[in-house]
Symmetry: C2
Subunit: 172 residues, 2 copies
DNA sequence: GAGCGCATGTAAGCTGTTACATGATTCT
DNA sequence: AGAATCATGTAACAGCTTACATGCGCTC
């Protein structure tokens, strides 16, 4: 009955790195920082923060204007975050729609397959451009930079794969 | 209200590639072929096949011993599969727990971070070994091979990334 | 006849998405 | 006054996981 917890960790991470914030802030932060690594909208974030407060991982510090609730990470939250970061066995299995397409590629004619792979390549290029242009997230420029480089490396690998496949598929 | 459908596509793809099969067969096939690309257990597959039959994508050909139901892909199913493979815009965004860890890496001390990255590297190596040793899936050796190469390329990129980060983190 | 593999399912619970709903404050 | 942004939520549904449950057929 192991909880997955990635959303919790992401929220705790942002709170640890940027200090107290409201659910609204965290949702915005998610969009501009964690976005390429994990996604969550406010409809998921708000209820999760409530549960996390109930579990003692965060506390509501103050209620500001417009019903704003300012969350702070607690000692217990810091402990959990640290434990996860330090001990978590990374999961390599993943659900990858692009890889599914690649898997079934031989079901297409060669010319259709070429178009499909070209499309994958184009999307990967778009994403690489996006990842390269992302501005630094926090005061500390290291923040997020490791993940950014990992994303770039993986996308570059996808592009190289596409080039290789296209080379094989294209009529000489 | 766009359905995601990846599970349907995966099942239709297996039926198209391997011919008629039961839910049980498909669950086994999933494990040994699609496994590194998409995961689904029999508890997800059985109900989905029922829905797909209701939608006319597959048909129950015969009921064999032990209540075995043999599913075949229909013309409509083939059409849908082909359309998806040919027209689907690949989604590059993804939820990546390892990348989340990478994102939050600066929250750890240097020595803890080194251990964490080493663990990522070790898992990636395991996975590469697994992917390299996977036997061919079907009579047609092309089947699944493109996806296998994509997976290998991405895992190799992850290993290279880990080596780079470790080089930066390790005291000289 | 005991055990194993075949073969099917249901139910509860968690995670994530989409749509709906509300009210306060600030800017033009 | 009207629009945009701030700020919070709920509800319904889709997708996936875990646990539970059942019965047939073959082999030893």
């Amino acid at each position: 009955m192991l909880r997955v917890m990635s959303l919790r960790i992401a929220l705790l991470g942002l709170l640890a790195a940027k200090g107290p914030a409201s659910g609204y802030d965290l949702a915005k932060l998610f969009e501009v920082s964690l976005n390429h690594v994990w996604q969550a909208g406010h409809t998921q974030i708000y209820p999760e923060l409530v549960k996390m407060a109930a579990d003692g991982l965060v506390s509501v510090e103050a209620e500001g204007a417009r019903g704003r609730k300012n969350y702070t990470i607690t000692g217990e939250g810091t402990r959990l975050l640290h434990e996860w970061l330090a001990d978590r066995e990374p999961v390599m299995v993943q659900r990858n729609e692009t890889a599914l397409l690649a898997f079934l590629l031989p079901l297409l004619d060669a010319d259709e397959a070429i178009v499909a792979v070209e499309r994958i390549r184009a999307r990967a290029r778009d994403r690489l451009d996006y990842l390269v242009c992302l501005p630094p997230v926090a005061e500390n420029p290291k923040f997020g930079s490791y993940a950014l480089r990992l994303g770039q490396a993986q996308v570059r690998a996808t592009i190289a794969w596409a080039d290789e496949i296209l080379h094989e598929l294209r009529p000489t």
